[in-house]
């Protein structure tokens, strides 16, 4: 607009020397910052907008929310699956956030991210299981529940009036085909795992699990719980592991899904002598993992650089 007025005939009229004294230009207000400096990317306003690089930024931001949540881990053997999570209360006065939910006798889920979203999805899963049980008098196969959950998450990535669920779910379940551990993303993807960790400082737990996972298939139930506790300890980064900061749940052959009570967990921690620094080498992987964790948010911030998290 300025340009037109500068050069056009109207401008000449306006800019011509006036016969009368001219008021100074009205004050246009303080200089404003461009909107584009507020948001990281240009194409992230809603979930139904693609970026030129073929990414959906809203979905990726939802996955960031998962990374910010407190850690949750899962691991499985041929006959058992163990879920564990770090439970931090806001203050000494409040109770812990519930992060592990029983979905049915044979399925349980641990969440990381927006726990409200996780609660709502758990209710959906419980509903699906109970409806299937009622119609077929048989437990819902875990693989099918996980696909239904993933399809539900996908819908939220393709509607302009919705937002993706900001929660990652570790689904542990037992069915005819054996013990299963799945991870459901906000993107609508799901993967099956031998062991996995999600949430903040989960890389430390993942490193530990990567070292040990080959033994998991034939491990006993108690060894599996011990490994879960060790993995949780990794995410605590030096803090003492006690039953008040973590929750453990188990499901297995002949053992319906249930959360272990505080007393049992503390006994196991004491029995395995997990509290305190055990191995020297353990300190180094932790330090490296700490650096990696802080580098992650930076990678995500660089627009257009790095692999899109959904592609992993």
């Amino acid at each position: 607009m300025q340009k037109c007025i500068k050069n056009g005939p109207l401008a000449q009229l306006l800019n011509a020397k006036k016969a009368y004294p001219v008021r100074p230009e009205p004050w246009k207000g303080p200089p404003t910052v461009s909107y584009r400096k507020m948001f990281r990317n240009q194409y992230d306003t809603d979930v139904t907008t693609w970026s030129p690089a073929g990414r959906l930024f809203q979905v990726e931001y939802a996955m960031e929310a998962v990374k910010q949540g407190s850690a949750a881990i899962g691991l499985r053997s041929k006959t058992h699956i163990v879920l564990g999570c770090v439970n931090k209360a806001n203050s000494e006065l409040s109770s812990h956030q519930k992060k592990i939910f029983k979905v049915d006798d044979h399925i349980g889920v641990a969440i990381a991210g927006l726990t409200a979203d996780g609660r709502v999805l758990s209710r959906y899963m419980r509903n699906e299981c109970i409806n299937y049980s009622f119609t077929y008098e048989s437990p819902l196969p875990v693989g099918r529940l996980v696909v239904q959950l993933a399809d539900k998450a996908q819908v939220c990535t393709q509607r302009s009036w919705k937002r993706p669920y900001g929660v990652g779910l570790l689904v542990a379940g037992l069915d005819e085909s054996g013990a299963h551990l799945y991870y459901n993303c906000p993107s609508g993807n799901y993967f099956e795992y031998q062991a996995f960790a999600i949430g903040s400082r989960s890389q430390a737990a993942k490193t530990y699990l990567e070292r040990k996972f080959e033994n998991f298939t034939d491990a006993s139930r108690d060894d599996l719980v011990k490994d879960a506790l060790m993995a949780i300890r990794e995410t605590l980064q030096g803090e003492t592991l006690k039953s008040s900061v973590c929750t453990i749940a188990v499901v297995g052959v002949g053992e319906p899904f249930h959360i272990l009570d505080q007393g049992t967990v503390q006994q196991m921690i004491d029995a395995f002598e997990i509290v305190g620094e055990q191995e020297g080498p353990a300190a180094e992987p932790d330090a490296a993992a700490g650096q990696e964790a802080s580098a992650e948010p930076e990678q995500g911030a660089a627009a257009g650089e790095g692999v899109a998290p959904m592609d992993i």
């Binding site: 119609t135 077929y136 008098e137 048989s138 196969p141 693989g143 099918r144 696909v147 005819e176 085909s177």
Partner: protein, 245 residues
């Protein structure tokens, strides 16, 4: 939805059913189905008759059908309702296969699904006029159950529908035992079917026997049972009571 209801002319031939959109009576019916568990799986027998009231109208009706990989369904009662049930199950099995994930609906699941269907229809006063027998084997587990048109369902080692309840089950209770061989199982079923042939007027002498095991389902070609009508009591039934017929 008014345009969808059939318009009955004033002088309708339908009589009391004129304004009913629900099942009131069966028309073409099949008679008893008998089934038992044996060593390797389930054996089921049914004749091939479809009666239209007291007329033995259709003589090649297959009243037993395989369902999915693991189950076998036999039905007595209204044949058209049986065909409708087969359509429901076809859709159920189709969706089950579409998951393509190594899980499959076994006989227990199909039986419970059918129970839900039958019971819900009964609650709407619009039943599927059938008594169903569902048998199968999955992962070495044998399963045999039954559902009636009012949704009564149970599992047992041997079941029968219709007249079979009164004539076949006493024989089965007496002579069934665990781990029957295939030959013994067939012999036992044939004994039940012979009694039904003598005493049930809607039975015809053309039956099939179906077998389902872990390997799969086979159904025999139709065949007839040998009967003996020369019992002296049948020869002159009025002997002991002059004037009777």
């Amino acid at each position: 939805m008014n345009f969808m209801a059939s318009k009955q002319p004033e002088n309708s031939l339908l009589g009391p059913e004129a304004d009913s959109q629900r099942t009131l009576y069966p028309y073409v019916t099949g008679t008893s189905v008998v089934a038992l568990k044996y060593k390797d799986g389930i054996l089921m027998a049914a004749d091939m008759g479809g009666s239209y009231g007291s007329t033995l109208r259709y003589k090649s009706v297959e009243r037993m059908k395989p369902i999915g990989k693991h189950s076998l369904l036999g039905a007595s009662g209204e044949i058209s309702d049986f065909q409708e049930i087969l359509r429901y199950l076809d859709e159920l099995i189709l969706y089950d296969n579409m998951w393509d994930d190594g899980n499959s609906l076994g006989p227990k699941e199909v039986h419970n699904y059918l129970t839900r269907v039958m019971y819900n229809r009964r609650n709407k006063f619009n039943p599927l006029w059938n008594s169903l027998v569902l048998g199968g084997v999955k992962n070495g587990q044998k399963y045999l159950g039954t559902v009636s048109m009012i949704g009564v369902n149970f599992e047992d080692n041997h079941v029968a529908t219709g007249f079979g309840n009164h004539l076949a089950r006493p024989i089965l209770r007496q002579e069934w035992h665990e781990n029957l061989s295939y030959e013994d199982g067939v012999r036992l079923l044939e004994k039940c079917m012979r009694v039904l042939l003598y005493r049930d007027r809607s039975a015809i002498n053309k039956l099939q026997i179906a077998k389902i095991t872990e390997e799969g389902m086979t159904i025999s070609q139709p065949y007839s049972l040998k009967t003996y009508w020369e019992f002296s009591a049948f020869a002159n039934p009025a002997q002991g009571a002059v004037g009777t017929w």
